[in-house]
Amino acid sequence: MGPLIPQDIISGDLNFFFALIIGIAFGFILEQAGFSSSRKLAGVFYGYDFVVLKVFFTAAVTAAIGLFFLKYLGWVDFNFLYVNPLYLWSALIGGIVMGFGFILGGFCPGTSLGAAVIGKIDAWFFIAGMFLGVFIFGIFYPVFEPLHTGYFLGNPFIYDTLGLSQQWFLFLLIFMALAAFAVTQLIEDNSTRFKELLYTQKLSVRYPLLFAFILSIIILFLPNQRHSYANEMSRNDLAAAILSNERYVPVEKVVHSLVHDVRDLHLVDVRPVAEFNTFHLPGAVSVPLENILEKTSEDNLTGTGKTTVLYANSSDKADMAWFFVTREGFKNIYVMEDGLNKMYNFLFSTPDTLVNNNNNMTPEEKFVQNARKWFREGSVQSAVKASMPAPSAAPAKAVKGGC
């Protein structure tokens, strides 16, 4: 269900429920479009009826325009979209096999089910053939495997490959669709077979075409995409926050909180996971800088009821992490000033004092000595070795699609 399940707006448990509803709707629309007739479907290959091309092209263009604007308005996160990976050989050979099957059988898999439901016998045979094919493919999969997984190209986008902007690509796609509609209309008008069949009433397309044209022009001349979302801090506020230096928590406070077990600070380690595993402050959680904006990091940044303090080896990385989360709209995130390097300096730069001299120590010295003892006591091993699963950059849940 689009962006709703990956973003936990709807529970993923309802996935199959929505799949059922959408599937029924899809089948109904296919049937209504006349796609349960193999003559109509095969017509696109014999050149007398192009309704298949029109329906699927319309669907693609409608979805493309809708998604484009939803993304533009910041309502849909493109990272959640599932993009079918491109295996070149399976795409080419599968496409050819599918095309021949389409011409010979007069159905494509989805429409065959639609036709079977309304009782067409040829569709039942088609489905039987489909299952036979799936069965053969499954049994002999080792033979097909190099073909099936060969020449993997990742998830390329056409507009990236062509070096076009998304806007221009969409514009060209709309125009290609409109041109295809016009050409096929001409062919249909001249086809005697089409007139014999008379499946379709001729529709007036003047206004829909006008709308499509206006939309394509809007797409082309949209101002720069708005990247800001509701909670995002404005640039001027962010500049003021950078200059105010209110975000810094001195190392002494963190040490005090740890040694005296105050538990008022929620420590977040923004260094890479490897460094976190070697050493981290007691009770700290790991959110590497490159994952700081991911949805899964959100719980580790807020909602603990404590003051969140970011730290790294110096202020540098922690400040950068602070920049991103503050701009994103998180409030009350702090930075441990000058990081672990400073903390180490603070704790271990003075010589150890003998216990006998305890009385001559200033309170500051005493504090440092206590903290030093607290940190050092026990084994030399790092505090807690956490086996960190490497956070994957893959989107949380991919949205699966298909027509």
């Binding site: 939309l215 708005r226 990247h227 070697t278 580790n300 202020s315 699963p389």
Partner: protein
């Protein structure tokens, strides 16, 4: 009437988009960024810093195209500065004039300042505001000036404040540290499902 069906559905689709655009245009508060937060974060994947070694090679030859943006105070700048550098104090960096001044610079910009974290924040801010071709010189002006420009000390060629300067676990990983505080929360594991491919 079938005519009306086609007309109505396209009209609804069309009007929905127009209204959504208008709605967002009216209710939208301008935040003033030209690059998304995530994209700024992604720029950190590339080499956004210039190591002192690369700087050393670049700085030797005046024919190279670069401008050093010095973020220190004007007083410090007037005392000692690098060639081909402009002074934009960190406090004034966020003004409109500074931004337009930086936007006019055609050469690649190298940021250097009082502290590395300041320089990095300046980089992030300027990248968010739409500037490109910026690099951060790690450390501070003093370290750069004393160890690379005035006298070249190769041990500073790959200096970075963010490096761990000490062996932390040796002194700080004691038993006490182990016993306090909750166990570190593990980041949520990302669920990897075998993608199901659909088709018609």
């Amino acid at each position: 009437m079938k005519n009306n069906q086609l007309f109505n559905s396209t009209l609804i689709f069309f009007l929905f988009i127009i209204f959504a655009l208008l709605f967002s245009a009216i209710t939208h508060k301008v935040k003033g960024y030209s690059v998304a937060n995530k994209e700024v974060l992604n720029t950190l994947q590339g080499p956004y810093t210039l190591s002192y070694y690369d700087f050393y090679l670049l700085y030797k030859d005046t024919a190279n195209d670069f401008t050093i943006v010095d973020l220190r105070t004007p007083e410090a700048f007037s005392k000692e500065n690098l060639k081909k550098s402009v002074n934009i104090p960190f406090e004034k960096l966020f003004d409109k004039e500074s931004l337009s001044k930086l936007k006019d610079l055609k050469e690649s910009k190298l940021l250097v300042g009082n502290h590395q974290n300041e320089t990095s924040l300046a980089y992030l801010y300027l990248t968010s505001a739409g500037l490109t071709d910026i690099k951060v010189l790690p450390g501070s002006f003093d370290i750069l000036y004393n160890n690379i420009v005035k006298a070249t000390n190769p041990s500073y060629f790959f200096y970075n404040e963010e490096k761990a300067q000490w062996d932390f676990p040796r002194q700080m990983g004691g038993e006490n540290a182990k016993s306090t505080g909750p166990a570190p929360a593990l980041p949520q594991q990302v669920e990897m499902k075998t993608p199901v491919k659909g088709g018609c």
